[in-house]
């Protein structure tokens, strides 16, 4: 917590100022009374939102309940709305109105395993959402005119004034040849983009496991497991990095081609990167025959 003489502080997680009277940040729910936990390598651990912490948006509130698989319990006021994927609904009061918000590019979304329809909920009333894995609910307030890029399937909910689009991630590799050729998307086929229009908005993500953030300086680079990315600032660049370790006597033929290789997501600043501690094991696939732009190291 960074305190000033006027009893305001800037939350180190959502980077927004507010008064220092509460025990948790009113914008993102992060506790304010904990010490900054930063690893020697510079990763800052995002502390879990305290059980029953409240986040304010518009005239409404969001209360985070539970610690293993937390739920986001929205108390929606009359004119406020949120949208979310239909499979995240845990319970709702009958007074909440739910309507479908169709998505363009339906066929591509189906191929990518993304929901075809988002639901929009309007108050008054309570509605609660949760994802189906142990981890953390992360609240990201988005300032007017700002954007956040999120890896697919991490989205939990957003307030009605946050615009949602998606685009091809542009991160892919192909393996095999001829009829056996396969295209893989280590980061997912699409990336979700959330942009606050007409005022500040609130975005909620679900991060399986623990989440860590790092603010990269201009030109600073980091390699991460592609499936561990949770979100990033739009200013952070990314591309593939292929690494072929020296395997000594085994450094020939198929061993050098794919058995020991590492497929990284190389990211560079300036901007914030967030990773989760649970990620998918890299696919055991054949030799890479083509790929999206990538750097390459053969040790």
């Amino acid at each position: 917590m960074t305190t000033t003489e006027t009893s305001t502080y800037t939350c180190r997680f959502c980077r927004l100022p507010s008064d220092a009277s509460g025990t948790s940040c009113p914008n993102c729910g992060a506790p304010v009374d904990v010490k900054s936990v930063v690893s020697d390598s510079g990763w800052q651990e995002q502390p879990a939102v305290k059980d029953m912490a409240r986040i304010q948006f518009g005239q409404s509130t969001c209360q985070i309940e539970g610690t293993y698989v937390p739920t986001a319990d929205f108390g929606l006021a009359g004119d406020d709305s949120i949208y979310f994927s239909h499979h995240c609904v845990l319970w709702t009061e009958p007074t909440v109105q739910m309507t479908a918000m169709p998505m363009a590019g339906g066929w591509n979304r189906v191929r990518a395993g993304l929901p075809l329809v988002m639901l929009e909920a309007r108050g008054p009333g309570h509605i609660a959402l949760s994802d189906d894995a142990p981890g953390e609910v992360v609240a990201i307030p988005i300032q007017h005119g700002h954007s956040v890029w999120v890896r697919e399937h991490r989205f939990l909910a957003a307030t009605g004034n946050v615009n949602y689009t998606w685009q091809q991630s542009g991160i892919w590799i192909t393996t095999g040849a001829g009829n056996d050729q396969e295209t893989h998307f280590p980061l997912g086929m699409f990336i979700d983009i959330f942009h606050a229009e007409g005022g500040p908005g609130l975005l909620l993500l679900h991060s399986p496991g623990n989440m860590f953030i790092r603010d990269l300086r201009q030109g600073e680079t980091i390699c991460i497991q592609p499936s561990s990315l949770v979100y990033k600032d739009p200013t952070v660049g990314m591309q593939l990095h292929l690494e072929y370790p020296n395997a000594g006597a085994m450094n020939f033929g198929w061993h050098s081609a794919f058995s020991y290789r590492q497929v990284w997501l190389r990211m560079w600043g300036p901007g914030r990167v967030a990773v989760q501690s649970v990620f998918e094991r890299p696919e055991n696939s054949g030799q890479i025959t083509s790929h999206s732009p990538a750097t390459r190291t053969v040790w």
Binding site: T67, Y68, W91
Partner: protein
């Protein structure tokens, strides 16, 4: 349980309402911490008490100790004459000498098709037996007072004491935790004697007490248990999802009575 003589020396458990001696830090009947704040959300859901590691509580002449916090284990030290019943695949370990027997159930083929075990196993005292399910979550301890009736979703029941009678029914049109249509409800009933029921809730567990006629809509996969006085119906929402324009169904719960939910569940498929 021995009750102290003076009212001011008693602490009422906020979870099961049992009276405890003022010197205790956990409830002797359900293991809930007595020195922790009752956590209730603005919307009225009470969080199930997080049992401290190695918490011990008593039922009949036996004791139960809950060990671990991520995937908790319920370890039961059965006294002579006491017994507990359970689905055989939740048995983690047992004393070699602790006898086992089987409770035969009707509707075996239907249960098999529904992914439910055909036989319920019984462990008899004296001896120790331990139980766990295979996912992170919480053990929920529900003492059942005489003449209580509780309905529990399939695949959530961990273990129950011998004084509780068991039956089951199929609810049509409710999404199964695995797939397909229909959901089995395990029904636990006490008659003249108190019993104890342990459930495994996936993720976090919350409970809300509905008033007469009060309604709440719950994702069927999130439903965990309810008093039998709570009516459960499937209601279709006015939205279509997926490429095939599937309807969205929620379970409408109507009070009076308690409803328990879990925060982790296998959700609807997106396609």
């Amino acid at each position: 349980m021995v009750l102290p003589s003076r009212d001011m020396d008693r602490i009422e458990c906020q979870w099961c309402k049992a009276q405890n001696d003022s010197g205790q830090t956990t409830c002797g009947t359900c293991g809930a911490p007595l020195d922790a704040r009752n956590l209730v959300s603005d919307s009225g859901w009470k969080e199930a008490p997080r049992l401290k590691d190695m918490t011990e509580f008593k039922f009949s002449n036996s004791t139960c100790q809950v060990e671990g916090e991520l995937v908790p284990v319920a370890e039961i030290n059965l006294a002579q004459g006491d017994s507990v019943f359970f689905e055989h695949h939740v048995l983690l370990w047992k004393d070699e000498a602790a006898p086992l027997s089987a409770m035969s159930l009707g509707g075996g083929m239907k249960r098999m098709l529904g992914g439910m075990p055909m036989v319920i196993s019984i462990a008899h005292g004296p001896g120790r037996v331990a139980f766990s399910r295979d996912a992170s979550g919480e053990v929920v301890v529900l003492p059942l007072h005489p003449s209580m009736e509780l309905d529990v979703r399939e695949h959530a029941f961990l273990v129950a004491s011998h004084s509780i009678s068991y039956s089951f029914e199929r609810i049509k049109g409710m999404t199964n935790v695995l797939h397909g249509e229909g959901m089995y409800l395990d029904r636990f009933v006490t008659t003249g004697e108190q019993g104890i029921l342990l459930l495994h809730g996936y993720g976090n567990v919350f409970q809300r007490t509905l008033g007469e006629g009060e309604k709440i809509l719950v994702e069927p996969g999130g439903f965990l248990y309810k008093d039998s006085s709570v009516q459960m119906n499937t209601v279709q929402q006015n939205v279509k999802t997926g490429l095939m324009r599937h309807g969205m169904y929620l379970a409408e719960m109507t009070g009076p009575g308690r409803v328990g939910i879990q925060s982790m569940y296998v959700h609807h498929h997106s396609e």
